[in-house]
C-alpha cells in the first residue's frame, strides 16, 4: 500500500468515524423533559434558594444530603397538599357521611395516581427520583457507560433509537446484506452495533412495562388501608407524616412483590445484559479508533495487567514451594545430624549395640507372629 493509499483509506475511515460520532451526538443531546415537574418542586426550589446557610462548601457530604432532603420535602409537600384537601373537605362538611368521606379520599388518591402515572409514562427521561425508583437499577448500569466518549445511553433513553434506526438506514445499511470489500469488517461492526441498540431499546421497553401496574396497585392498597383505619377509628393515621409513612410501607411492599417475580428479574437481567452487549460493541469501535492513532487502549493495558498478575501468582506459588523445600531441607539436615550423632554414640558404646540388635530381633519375631495370626484368621 502506498502512502497515498494509506492516507486515502485513513481519511475515509476518519470521515466514517466522524459521521458515526455526529449521529450519537445528535441522539444524546436531547434534554430531559421537565414539563411534568411538580409545581411544588418550583415552590421548594424558591424556598431552597432563599435558605440561609445553604452554602454546602464546608462539607461535600452535607451538600449531597441537602439535595436528598430537599427532594423528600417536595414529595412530602405533595402528599400534604393532597391530604390537606381531604381534611379541608372533611371539616367543611360537618355532616358528611363516612361513605362520602371515603369517596372524597378515593377521589384525591385517584388524582394523585393520575399525576404519578403521568410521571411513570417515561421512566427513563430524567435523573432517577422518587417517582421513578425502578429506574435506579438501570441508571446505575448506565453510569458505567459514562466513561465512554459516546453518550449512547441518554440518546437511547430518549426513545430516539427508533428515529435513529430509520434515519440511519441509508447511512449504515440497516436491513441490508453483508458488507463487501476492504471495509467489510468495519461495516459489520456497525451493523452489529445497530442490532444491539435495537435489542437494548426493546429490553428497556419490556422493563418499563413490568412496572406499569405499580402505581395503580400502590394507590389501591393505600385506599384500602386508609378505609380500614377509618372504619376501625385508628388514630395512628392522624398526621400527614403517618400517612406518608404508610405510603412508603405500601410502596415498598408492592415494589418488593414486583421485583421478586421471576418475570421481573428476567426483564431486569435482559436489560442489563443488552446494555453490556451494546457497551462492549461500542468499546470495540473505540479500540479500533485508538489503534488507528497508534494509541494503546484498554485492551492492551488489560493484557499487561493480566500477565503481570499471573506472574505474581506464579511467584507466590514458587515462594511457597521454596519455603516448603527450605523447611524440608532443614528437617532432613536435622534428622541426618541426629542419626550421625546416634551413630557416633553407638560406636563408642558397644553394649548399646547389642541391645539394639536384640530389639531388632524381637521386632522381627513380632512380625512373624502377626503374619501367622493373619493367616489363621483367614
Amino acid at each position: 500500500m502506498t502512502e497515498n493509499d494509506f492516507s486515502k483509506n485513513f481519511d475515509a475511515f476518519l470521515q466514517m468515524q466522524n459521521q458515526y460520532m455526529d449521529m450519537w451526538k445528535t441522539a444524546s443531546q436531547k434534554k430531559p423533559d421537565t414539563s411534568s415537574q411538580n409545581p411544588w418542586a418550583s415552590v421548594m426550589n424558591n424556598f431552597w434558594s432563599s435558605m440561609p446557610g445553604q452554602d454546602t462548601s464546608s462539607s461535600p457530604l452535607s451538600g449531597s444530603l441537602f439535595g436528598n432532603i430537599h427532594q423528600q420535602n417536595v414529595m412530602m409537600s405533595q402528599l400534604t397538599k393532597c391530604f390537606e384537601s381531604i381534611a379541608s373537605a372533611t371539616n367543611n362538611k360537618a355532616e358528611q357521611t363516612p361513605e362520602q368521606w371515603q369517596s372524597f379520599i378515593n377521589q384525591s388518591l385517584d388524582d394523585l395516581q393520575a399525576q404519578l402515572m403521568k410521571l411513570c409514562a417515561a421512566p427513563f427521561t430524567a435523573t432517577p427520583d422518587i417517582e421513578k425508583l425502578w429506574g435506579i437499577p438501570i441508571s446505575l448500569w448506565q453510569q458505567s457507560m459514562q466513561a465512554q466518549n459516546f453518550s449512547v445511553q441518554s440518546g437511547i433513553a430518549e426513545g430516539s433509537v427508533a428515529d435513529q434506526t430509520s434515519r440511519s438506514g441509508a447511512g449504515m445499511g440497516a436491513g441490508m446484506g453483508p458488507g463487501l470489500g476492504p471495509d467489510r469488517e468495519k461495516y459489520e461492526k456497525l451493523q452489529n452495533l445497530q442490532a444491539l441498540m435495537q435489542a437494548y431499546y426493546v429490553a428497556q421497553q419490556e422493563y418499563a412495562q413490568t412496572f406499569s401496574p405499580f402505581w395503580p396497585e400502590v394507590i389501591e392498597q393505600l385506599k384500602v388501608k386508609i378505609k380500614n383505619a377509618s372504619e376501625l377509628g385508628d388514630e395512628t393515621l392522624s398526621s400527614t407524616r403517618s400517612l406518608f409513612d404508610l405510603w412508603v410501607d405500601v410502596a415498598e411492599g408492592v415494589y418488593a412483590k414486583t421485583t421478586r417475580t421471576d418475570a421481573c428479574q428476567k426483564c431486569y437481567s435482559k436489560l442489563v445484559n443488552a446494555s453490556m452487549a451494546l457497551n462492549k460493541a461500542i468499546d470495540v469501535i473505540q479500540q479500533d479508533t485508538l489503534a488507528a492513532f497508534n494509541i494503546p487502549g484498554r485492551k492492551e493495558i488489560d493484557t499487561l495487567s493480566e500477565r503481570l498478575q499471573r506472574t505474581r501468582r506464579e511467584n507466590r506459588l514458587l515462594r511457597l514451594e521454596l519455603d516448603e523445600l527450605k523447611v524440608a531441607f532443614a528437617h532432613s539436615q536435622m534428622v541426618n545430624g541426629q542419626m550421625a550423632n546416634s551413630q557416633k554414640t553407638s560406636t563408642k558404646r558397644k553394649p548399646g549395640t547389642k541391645k539394639a540388635s536384640k530389639k531388632h530381633v524381637i521386632k522381627k519375631k513380632n512380625v512373624k507372629k502377626k503374619a501367622s495370626t493373619t493367616k489363621k484368621t483367614e
Binding site: 435506579i136 398526621s239 445484559n273 498478575q309
Partner: protein
C-alpha cells in the same frame, strides 16, 4: 381518623421549621473522621494495609490475637465508627488484641486480582505475619459479611493456622428462598458484564443495594433525618454512617466474576465444589471452634443463608448467636454494642 385542616397546616409549618434548623446544622457539619480507635500500620502489600489496634494498657490481653477480615464491598471502619458504638472498643474491653485488614481502593490495574489472590495471597500473608510477630502457630479470625465467607475459605484451606473462627452476618448457603441478592443476579450474564466494564464501581454496588429497598432508603430515611438533624452531634453521627454506606471501593473484575458466579449463581461453597487456584475448598475441613453470629432482620444476608454453616463444617464446638436487628445495626446499634462484643469476647476467652 381525626384530621383537621388547621392541624395539617400546623404540621406542615412545624416540619418546615425543623427543616430550617436541620439544614443549618447540616451546613455547619465539618468533614468527619473514619474510625475512632488508634491503630498502627503493621504491614503493607499493594493496596492492602494491616493495622493493629492499640489496646488500652489497663486491660489484660488475650494471648492469641484476632484478625478482623471485613468485606471487599465496604470499608473496615464500620466496626469502629464512633466512640460510643465501636465494636472494636467493645472487643478490646474483653481483652482482645485486634488486627484488621484494610483492603484499600482497587483500581483498574487490579482488575485481575482473583479470590485466590485475596485468600491464599493477602489473607495468608497477613495471618503469617501476625503468627510470626506473636510467635504463635495459629490465631483467631473474625470474618464479617463477605469477609466471613473469605475467612471460611481460608480456614478450610489452612485449618492449622486458625485457632477459633467467628463469622458475622456471613452467607454460606446462597440459594435460600429469601435471598434478594441471589434473585437479583440469577439471570445476569456476569462474564459479559465483567468482560465489558472490568472492575465494578463502588457507586454501582451502592445503587444496587439501595434498589433493594428504594422507598425506605432513598425516601423515608432522609425525611426521618430531619428529626435527627435537630441535634448537631447527631448530625455528625448520621454523616459518619452516610459516609460509610457510600464509601465503597470498586470490586476487582475477576473477584467479582467468581464471587457472583460461583457463590451467588452456582452456590459452590456449600456444595463443596468451589475451587481457589489449584485447591478445592471443603468446609468439612473446618473442625475448630466456630461462633456464627447472624442478624434476624438482615435483608442482605438472611439468617437462612448463615445458619447452614452448622451442617457444612465438622466442628463439634459450634455456637450460634442471634441478634435482633439488621445487617448494619449489628455493628452500630446501641443494642449490638451491649450484646455482640461482650459475647464474642467471652466466647474467645473461654477458648484461648
Amino acid at each position: 381518623m381525626n384530621r383537621r385542616h388547621d392541624k395539617v397546616s400546623e404540621e406542615s409549618i412545624e416540619f418546615n421549621r425543623k427543616l430550617n434548623i436541620a439544614l443549618k446544622n447540616l451546613a455547619k457539619a465539618e468533614d468527619i473522621d473514619q474510625g475512632v480507635t488508634p491503630k498502627t500500620v503493621i504491614y503493607k502489600e499493594d493496596k492492602l494495609t494491616l493495622y493493629r489496634y492499640q489496646s488500652p494498657a489497663s486491660i489484660v490481653q488475650n494471648k492469641i490475637p484476632t484478625l478482623i477480615i471485613y468485606a471487599l464491598v465496604n470499608r473496615h471502619y464500620m466496626t469502629d465508627i464512633q466512640q460510643d458504638r465501636s465494636m472494636v472498643r467493645g472487643l478490646q474491653e474483653t481483652g482482645q488484641d485486634l488486627y484488621v485488614i484494610d483492603w484499600g481502593y482497587p483500581d483498574r490495574a487490579d482488575r485481575y486480582i482473583t479470590l485466590d489472590d485475596y485468600i491464599n495471597g493477602y489473607i495468608a500473608n497477613c495471618v503469617d505475619i501476625i503468627c510470626k510477630r506473636h510467635n504463635l502457630p495459629q490465631i483467631n479470625i473474625l470474618g464479617i459479611c463477605q469477609g466471613g465467607t473469605l475467612s471460611l475459605c481460608y480456614t478450610a484451606l489452612h485449618p492449622a493456622k486458625v485457632k477459633n473462627l467467628i463469622t458475622m452476618v456471613t452467607p454460606v448457603d446462597f440459594h435460600t428462598e429469601d435471598n434478594n441478592l441471589t434473585r437479583s443476579v440469577k439471570y445476569l450474564d456476569v462474564d459479559l458484564l465483567v468482560d465489558t466494564i472490568g472492575n465494578i464501581s463502588g457507586d454501582m454496588m451502592n445503587n444496587f443495594f439501595l434498589s433493594l429497598q428504594p422507598f425506605r432508603l432513598l425516601v423515608q430515611k432522609y425525611l426521618n433525618a430531619v428529626d435527627i438533624f435537630q441535634n448537631e452531634e447527631k448530625v455528625k453521627n448520621f454523616l459518619r454512617m452516610e459516609k460509610w454506606i457510600f464509601d465503597s471501593p470498586d470490586q476487582t473484575g475477576e473477584t467479582f466474576r467468581q464471587f457472583l458466579k460461583d457463590f451467588y449463581q452456582k452456590n459452590k461453597l456449600i456444595k463443596g465444589e468451589l475451587e481457589l487456584g489449584d485447591h478445592q475448598v471443603d468446609l468439612k475441613n473446618i473442625n475448630i471452634p466456630v461462633l456464627n453470629v447472624y442478624a434476624e432482620k438482615d435483608h442482605l444476608v438472611p439468617p437462612s443463608a448463615s445458619k447452614p454453616l452448622k451442617q457444612s463444617i465438622t466442628s463439634k464446638d459450634y455456637t450460634e448467636l442471634a441478634f435482633k436487628g439488621g445487617h448494619i445495626g449489628i455493628y452500630v446499634s446501641g443494642g449490638a454494642k451491649k450484646q455482640i462484643p461482650p459475647a464474642i469476647g467471652e466466647w474467645l476467652n473461654e477458648r484461648c
